[in-house]
């Protein structure tokens, strides 16, 4: 609160001129009170009330799982959801484009062969499939992830998910030009394990 004393003023004639003008002299050097200070205080009180009110309102609102109200009263991501976001962003940055190649001579499923032919003979080292992965794989079991037995996972390119998808397409489209693909009785458009171009 401002002092009443500071507001005390007296009027005395000015010595600088003969005219009857008056000069305002303060009794002390304290800042002059002004009319906007109470208004400012009222605004601050109003803002404070608003903040408390919003905090109460947010705490009463039903938030979906994954959202929480932080100590400031703002809506925020739960720590679990924040961690999920970070993990998913990391996955996008850390992808791998790979080839699955036969670990031994034998028959393997063929999805790119003419419709009557369900399997294909591959020699050890022949490509069965090109693919991209970026997520944590829940199992190490090759059949669970690879789609056939006796396959070897050879990472060909590490990069972002987008970069790996581009690389995968280049490999799939150029598959018919590999010596192993040209030597067969039938020419297939894609590697045996690739049903589609992606």
């Amino acid at each position: 609160m401002f002092s009443l004393k500071s507001s005390a003023r007296k009027l005395e004639p000015s010595n600088h001129s003969s005219s009857s003008t008056l000069r305002i002299i303060s009794e002390d050097n304290s800042p002059r009170p002004s009319g906007w200070l109470p208004i400012l205080l009222l605004i601050l009180i109003a803002l404070g009330s608003l903040h408390v009110g919003r905090k109460y309102y947010m705490s009463q609102k039903d938030l979906p799982p994954g959202l929480v109200v932080n100590p400031e009263g703002d809506m925020a991501l739960s720590s679990k959801r924040e961690a999920k976001l970070a993990k998913e962003l990391e996955e996008i940055d850390n992808a791998v484009q790979y080839a699955l190649v036969a670990t031994k001579d034998g028959v393997y499923p063929c999805y790119a062969c003419p419709s009557a032919q369900k399997v294909i003979f591959l020699y050890k080292g022949n490509v069965w499939k090109y693919g991209v992965t970026r997520k944590e794989e829940s199992e190490r079991y090759p059949n669970g992830n690879y789609g056939a037995e006796n396959l070897l996972f050879l990472p060909l390119f590490w990069g972002t998910y987008g970069e790996c998808l581009k690389q995968e397409k280049i490999m799939i489209y150029n598959y018919p030009f590999l010596p192993e693909a040209k030597e067969r009785d039938i020419i297939i458009l894609r590697p045996p394990g690739n049903k589609y171009d992606s």
């Binding site: 670990t103 034998g106 028959v107 190490r140 079991y141 070897l152 996972f153 050879l154 990472p155």
Partner: protein, 159 residues
């Protein structure tokens, strides 16, 4: 049915009886320097899992030879037992730098070590076994194979 199709179906039927599955996740520049196929062929011929019990009917092993394994691919390494399939699935990392610097014999030694280390992890799953399985005898037989000189050089192995 033509002869070629018959041959393919015979091979497919043989594949269904397979007990040992040895694979890898190997940086492409290190293949075939690191060749799980050598282990697959010899152990597939010389090991019969039925001899040790019915607790494990399929043995999956993966050599992981990758310079850096980011967090999302850390699951490539580890050991799991699946009671429903009575199978064990093991992924063991082989030191990348050592493989790069190694000659053929050293690469084989590093791979042998990794595989034996993988068999050791089976002990942790013993409580979950659906039937007994003598993994110690299994390991001893694998060690005996590895002890033979040039065990991995089969008739059709390129010199």
């Amino acid at each position: 049915m033509i002869a070629k199709e018959e041959h393919l179906l015979t091979l497919e039927a043989q594949a269904k009886d397979q007990q040992i599955f040895i694979s890898g996740r190997i940086w492409h520049e290190l293949y075939p320097k690191v060749d799980p196929g050598l282990f697959l062929k010899v152990l597939g011929q010389k090991i019969d899992l039925k001899k040790y019990g019915d607790g494990i009917v399929k043995f999956y092993f993966t050599f992981v030879v990758i310079e850096k394994l980011t967090r999302n691919f850390s699951g490539w390494v580890g050991s799991d037992y699946f009671p429903k399939r009575a199978s064990v699935d093991i992924g063991i990392r082989v030191p990348y730098e050592e493989i790069v610097a190694a000659d053929e014999a050293t690469v084989i030694r590093l791979m042998e070590k990794a595989l034996l280390e993988g068999i050791d992890t089976i002990a942790a799953h013993e409580r979950k076994f659906v039937a007994p399985f003598d993994y110690k005898a299994f390991k001893a037989d694998v060690e005996a194979i590895f002890a033979e000189e040039n065990w991995y050089k089969t008739e059709d192995t390129p010199a």
